[in-house]
């Protein structure tokens, strides 16, 4: 009853083309944003901020990156973690080797390094599609991690290949507490998510989706498939790269190339599949689902069966339930949580009347 656009007339195309054309959505979104920016930092404990909220945000950003490539441009990729690694090591090396390098600039350069590498590994997409392309990006995954281990220059000749991210400092302000790191991450993710949403609702996004849905027709209407695919790889890798740099700087502090392994790539892929392929919001939902559910299960198991079950059995049971829930969600709604949300909103418009 409350959620209805009745009486909201749009009198210009600008109003019709807003991200949230319905007023209730706009108000709700601003409220959520305000909650995350202004309320949560005071409510959440350091553990919540550092171990849960920051990684959820960072994975959301990586998932947005993969969603641009796979969900919008239709190019299947298994190299997201590798592009994250390029971003992390790129930002690290620029911070290390350039005196007085501002953090945000290093972050952007890290993203640009990843974009370049992404375009290079995106070249096969001009010839191959689908699962075969996935195998080609798998090569990126193994090659990049191998190269970062093989050439110690990347990790500043550290014997173990581990890098310790420098202190984040912007205009003299040190981001050393979980709250400040959380706010920084949230700010960057919010800005980049907005940019991604803008991209996918403009000509760039339409040409990506056109190439995804019907490449011959796209070319006949004047879209250059090469440009569309490579720009998708570039933008996607940029997002993954920035996410990787944040992963190193705001979340872990110390990372090794092996941390960006195939498991992480799969994890990001699962996030977009569960969250919703081809949806910016789905990237957030998927990341939250994959990060939060195991923690939730863990807490639930401990409070339910504390002490009454062997530890090994408990943790295995958690994994089983986790997998089972993923399958359940995919059967109930193959298009992911974002679609579930969409359907919920459509139902809400009619509520409480069935028609």
């Amino acid at each position: 009853m409350l959620y209805r656009e009745a009486g909201q007339f749009k009198v210009s195309y600008q109003e019709d083309q807003q991200i949230f054309p319905i007023r209730q959505d706009r108000v709700g979104f601003i409220a959520i944003l305000g909650f995350f920016f202004l309320v949560l930092p005071f409510l959440a404990s350091e553990y919540w901020l550092q171990a849960i909220l920051i990684p959820v945000l960072i994975f959301s950003l990586a998932a947005i990156g993969l969603n641009i490539l796979t969900g919008y441009a239709g190019q299947l990729s298994l190299g997201s973690a590798a592009f994250m690694a390029v971003g992390a090591f790129g930002a690290y090396n620029f911070m290390l080797r350039v005196d007085g390098m501002p953090f945000l600039v290093a972050l952007a350069i890290g993203g640009l390094c990843a974009a370049l590498v992404g375009v290079a590994f995106g070249l096969p997409s001009l010839r191959i599609k689908g699962f075969y392309l996935a195998v080609a990006t798998l090569a990126a995954q193994f090659f990049i991690v191998w190269a970062l281990v093989k050439f110690p220059w990347f990790s500043n000749n550290s014997s173990s290949g581990v890098i310790s991210a420098q202190q984040i400092e912007i205009l003299g302000f040190a981001f050393d507490t979980p709250v400040s790191k959380y706010l920084l991450t949230l700010g960057i993710v919010a800005v980049l998510a907005l940019a991604a949403k803008n991209l996918v609702r403009s000509t760039t996004g339409r040409s990506w989706m056109a190439v995804r849905d019907m490449d011959v027709a796209a070319e006949v209407i004047g879209i250059r498939p090469m440009f569309a695919k490579l720009s998708a790889f570039a933008v996607s890798s940029f997002y993954c790269g920035v996410a990787g740099a944040l992963y190193a700087y705001a979340y872990l502090g110390t990372v090794e190339p092996e941390g960006f392994n195939l498991d992480l790539s799969f994890k990001i892929l699962f996030m977009i599949i569960i969250g919703g392929v081809g949806s910016i919001m789905g990237s957030f939902l998927g990341a939250a689902f994959i990060v939060l559910l195991p923690i939730f299960l863990n807490v639930a198991m401990h409070s339910l069966f504390a002490g009454s079950m062997p530890a090994g059995l408990g943790s295995n049971l958690e994994l089983i339930i986790f997998g089972g829930l993923i399958i359940f969600f995919l059967i109930v709604e193959p298009h992911g949580l974002a679609r579930l949300w969409q359907i919920g909103k459509e139902k809400l418009r009619l509520w409480p009347f069935p028609h």
């Binding site: 210009s12 989706m209 849905d213």
Partner: protein, 277 residues
């Protein structure tokens, strides 16, 4: 700008051309041969298309009609022959170059972008005319937003023209077949082509839908002066609306001329009905 103004302005965006003048040759195909390995799809075909005319290509299944369209807009590259478009000899080119020169088309099997709304599908037709780059799109501010609104205006004109206002936000996958065909025509029209290639626009439609489609084709030709090359199996439609007809059979041209000439051409009759032995 107010929505009300737009709706009033749209239908009379371009004044109807009172008399359809058939102009000079804009597309001239000479000795086109196309083969895939050993299969000869087209053999030594020559014909021309004049400005503002409706030129039909007919022929039995597998005659090479769709291949002909694919040659015209650069999807296939003929091994032999030359193509003159607007007085220029055309080199081997990619489809998006042909699109930039003002050639748009629809497909025999609907080739819409299934995951996108009707509005977005038709907006892709404006793609070539939009000049903002990726970074401006990411900001979606100032120039980029202005451009989006300007082109939305043109797209709304197309939507009004095709009478599909009610479905503009619907994903095309959910639409019935006849409407999908109409949206596909809309996407081609949004590019404001000078040459429009239609590959069986009426296949699988009922009489009413066919009549609508005929009306749209004639109106496009009449109001916008668009030259149309049409492939169609419905002979009633072809003979009614075409200015000239070219007949293909087994990749060879067997007839060319005004509908009445073609209708009485013994070779054409033989191709369609068979000969008595």
């Amino acid at each position: 700008m107010m929505m009300n103004d737009l709706i009033q302005v749209a239908p009379v965006a371009q004044p109807p051309v009172a008399e359809r003048r058939i102009g000079d040759v804009i597309l001239d195909l000479q000795g086109i041969s196309l083969s895939f390995g050993g299969v000869k799809a087209l053999t030594n075909i020559s014909f021309d298309v004049r400005e503002h005319e409706i030129r039909s290509i007919i022929g039995p299944n597998g005659a090479g009609k769709s291949s002909m369209l694919n040659v015209i807009n650069g999807v296939y590259h003929p091994q032999e022959g030359r193509i003159m478009f607007r007085g220029e000899l055309r080199q081997k080119m990619e489809p998006h170059v042909a699109a930039a020169q003002g050639i748009a088309r629809t497909f025999q099997n609907i080739a819409l972008f299934k995951g996108m709304s009707v509005l977005d599908n038709i907006m892709t037709g404006r793609n070539l005319k939009m000049k903002c780059n990726l970074f401006q799109h990411a900001l979606y501010w100032g120039r980029a937003r202005q451009e989006e609104i300007e082109h939305r205006l043109k797209v709304e004109e197309v939507i009004d023209f095709l009478e599909i206002q009610g479905i503009r936000k619907t994903p095309v996958g959910r639409l019935p077949y006849g409407l999908q065909k109409r949206v596909e025509l809309g996407r081609a029209l949004a590019a404001e082509p000078s040459l429009l290639l239609l590959d069986e626009p009426m296949a699988g439609m009922n009489v009413e839908e066919k009549q609508d489609m005929c009306r749209f084709i004639l109106d496009v030709n009449d109001q916008f002066g668009t030259t149309i090359v049409l492939i169609e199996h419905d002979m009633g439609v072809v003979m009614d609306i075409s200015d000239r007809v070219v007949v293909l059979d087994y990749g060879k041209k067997i007839g060319d001329g005004a509908p009445d000439e073609v209708k009485n051409n013994p070779e054409v009759i033989a191709a369609y009905l068979g000969t008595s032995h």
